[in-house]
């Protein structure tokens, strides 16, 4: 039987890691993910986890330890943030390219310069093309549940997964959570699949030099695995709901029905936007909300279906591709582009580096979008 505990997001992530019992964990501190490393170290020293804990000297070595251990079939975990994730970049590509089902938690935080501690999604979205699956959660409970699901999907399709939580808003906020039992999780999550090839009894090489055509085929297979991951996520979420009674999907709609305008956000800003939607509905504005939970594989089809009836979509995001537009807006526009009757998409950037996203800011953006603003360039909200 599970139990109810009051946990911060960082501790919730550590509880999830205890439940999946990885073989190898590598840890390195960085604000605001440090709590995950500390709690995992406690759990290992208390004998509640059997993982080999490698206390490395950098995030770069953390992901390198996981990459190598995973190549031998070990279940692996680490947590990081921001600069740490950026430092891992090269090995993120390597891990996905080698089809290793590493799972990590990223406590989102803005990237320097200048130094900033609060969350935005620039750190993880900058890793968009590394081949990692990416999920953005909106609560501690969702974080715990998603880490468990991530292992299930990653090990099924052999792709790594980054589970992202907003730093501080989730990592440092304590909430009452349902923590399932190890037995319940074991029933949901089979052991990691054996990894053939790297055994002294039948020696082989992994990662050796290839020609361009072989390399291209490997990239194509990786891309195809992402398509399989779409279905694997849907199955995992469905079975998770059956087993644990909590359901998640790639997109979470709120008051979508009859909405002229749909707001779209990721992470905790979506919770604020929900309050703004209620307020706007009270003012007679036909507005709804789409929370984008899964960023890779990107749920293009589901998104097009969900926004079909709306005239406008306003993307509210904590990320930007300087010189182009908001990263999420760009993705949403690309996903909706072929629909001739599709909604107009406005893009708003707000809450960078942890600036509070208030209901007033969301309402301001919504009203601007209803006037057709923000369609051609980035519209900043909340700046003087």
């Amino acid at each position: 039987m599970g139990e109810r505990k009051v946990l911060t997001g960082a501790y919730a992530a550590a509880e999830a890691v205890r439940l999946v019992q990885p073989d190898v964990v590598a840890i390195y501190p960085i604000t605001p993910s440090t709590g995950v490393a500390e709690r995992v170290a406690d759990l290992c020293s208390e004998g509640k986890m059997r993982a080999r804990l490698v206390r490395v000297e950098s995030e770069h070595s953390a992901i390198s330890v996981l990459m190598a251990a995973s190549a031998l079939g070990a279940r692996t975990f680490s947590a990081t943030s921001s600069q740490g994730l950026a430092l891992m970049h090269e090995v993120l590509h390597w891990t996905a390219g080698a089809r290793l089902p590493v799972v990590m938690v990223n406590a989102n935080r803005g990237l320097a310069a200048p130094w900033v501690l609060g969350p935005d999604h620039q750190d993880s979205l900058s890793q968009r093309d590394t081949g990692w699956m990416q999920v953005y959660v909106a609560s501690g409970q969702e974080l715990l549940d998603t880490v468990v699901q991530a292992y299930r999907v990653a090990e099924e399709v052999l792709l790594p997964c980054l589970v992202c939580m907003d730093g501080f808003y989730i990592s440092h906020t304590a909430e009452p959570l349902e923590v399932p039992s190890e037995e319940e999780v074991a029933a949901f999550l089979p052991p990691p699949p054996p990894r053939p090839g790297l055994d002294p009894n039948s020696p082989a090489a992994m990662g050796a030099l290839v020609d361009g055509a072989t390399y291209g085929r490997i990239r194509a297979l990786e891309h195809r695995a992402m398509a399989e991951a779409e279905e694997a996520w849907a199955r995992a979420e469905e079975e998770f709901a059956r087993a644990f009674g909590r359901s998640y999907a790639a997109l979470e709609g709120y008051r979508v029905e009859g909405a002229e305008l749909l707001l779209l956000a990721m992470g905790t800003a979506a919770s604020t936007a929900r309050a703004a939607v209620d307020s706007l509905r009270d003012q007679g504005v036909a507005v709804g909300l789409v929370r984008l939970r899964r960023f890779r594989p990107f749920p293009s089809g589901a998104l097009a279906a969900m926004v079909k009836g709306a005239a406008r979509v306003a993307v509210l995001e904590r990320s930007i591709s300087p010189g182009h537009q908001g990263i999420v807006a760009s993705e949403v526009r690309a996903a909706l582009y072929p629909a001739p009757e599709g909604p107009e998409v406005s893009g708003f950037v707000l809450g960078m580096g942890g600036q509070d996203v208030t209901p007033e800011m969301v309402e301001e953006a919504a009203k601007a979008a209803l006037k057709g603003e923000g369609r051609e360039e980035v519209t900043w909200v909340g700046l003087d």
Partner: protein
């Protein structure tokens, strides 16, 4: 070339037996250049390591020598890893084997001097500090040879490379990696060369029985990079030892020993076989000689050996 053989000075190296001598884990179809010291180094190291070995190879000449997919030139598993990650990746392999309860497989990181002295150093130092149960090999050809001969911090003073041209050859001395690694307090460290395979293999066999972090630094000449004739690789390597440029040392449990007393041949004999030193003026050779002798005296002092030249 004179010199005194292994064992005479109390090395704990485990001498060869017939089985070790006959063991071939490197295939003849590897992709190394003619006269490549790095290929020889692997051949001898694998004799000492045996078939229950797991190799971790970062970017280096050996990324190529190991063979392009689907071929592999070694009869042990190889995990190719990014340039700077050898020690961290080897730690990960060790952790995964430990998690599976596999104890008889030795994990060997196999890096060049770039992957050891330079870009790989942070992870290397950290793995040594954690006393990871791995053997870290550096096959040292004294430069970035796979990219076409650029200077590394292992390139000796005075040497030409494409980034230290003859008008401005390398000004700085080679980084003293053995001293740096032994300062970590690791249980075993040694130097070896491809010119003295018995010494190399004996040290690898000794290292294989030690638990914890082990570091083996192998001088492995590169004919195109050093600009010597491929037929002269072993002669150049022997001269590196016998002139005192590359002392053969074993640091077992913190105690230093020289496993060969250099014959004290003139440095010039070593330099003149290599085009990379051809530009050196008389006074520059003299300066190099002074530096080589000073380092040799320091190593001898640590090993408790009388300076045989005084």
């Amino acid at each position: 070339m004179g010199g005194t053989r292994l064992g005479a000075l109390g090395s704990r190296g485990i001498p060869l037996d017939d089985e070790t001598t006959a063991l071939e884990l490197l295939e003849p179809g590897h992709a190394a250049c003619p006269g490549c010291g790095a290929a020889l180094a692997m051949r001898y190291a694998l004799k000492g390591l045996g078939p229950r070995t797991f190799l971790v190879i970062p970017a280096s000449c050996w990324s190529v020598i190991a063979g392009a997919w689907p071929n592999s030139s070694v009869r042990v598993p190889v995990l190719h890893v990014p340039f700077e990650t050898a020690a961290a990746a080897a730690s990960g392999v060790r952790a995964a084997l430990d998690a599976r309860g596999v104890e008889d497989v030795v994990v060997a990181a196999w890096a060049g001097d770039g992957g050891t002295f330079d870009i790989g150093f942070q992870a290397l130092s950290a793995a040594a500090e954690r006393n990871e149960d791995i053997i870290f090999f550096c096959y040292d050809n004294e430069g970035y040879m796979n990219t076409g001969i650029q200077r590394s911090s292992a390139t000796p003073r005075g040497a030409w490379t494409t980034t230290t041209p003859t008008q401005a050859p390398k000004a700085e001395p080679k980084k003293p990696i053995l001293e740096i690694m032994t300062a970590h307090g690791i249980p075993y460290a040694a130097t070896a060369t491809v010119a003295y395979p018995e010494d190399l293999i004996a040290k690898v066999r000794r290292a294989r029985r030690v638990k914890g972090f082990r570091f083996i630094h192998i001088l492995a000449p590169c004919p195109p990079g050093w600009k010597h004739d491929p037929s002269q690789t072993l002669r150049v390597t022997r001269l590196a030892v016998e002139t005192g440029v590359f002392p053969l040392v074993e640091v077992d449990g913190g105690s230093w020993r020289m496993t060969r007393v250099p014959a004290g041949l003139p440095l010039r004999e070593y330099l003149k076989l290599q085009g990379r030193f051809a530009h050196l003026m008389e006074h520059e050779v003299w300066e190099l000689k002074e530096a080589v002798e000073a380092r040799l005296r320091a190593v001898q002092a640590r090993a408790g050996v009388q300076d045989n030249k005084t």
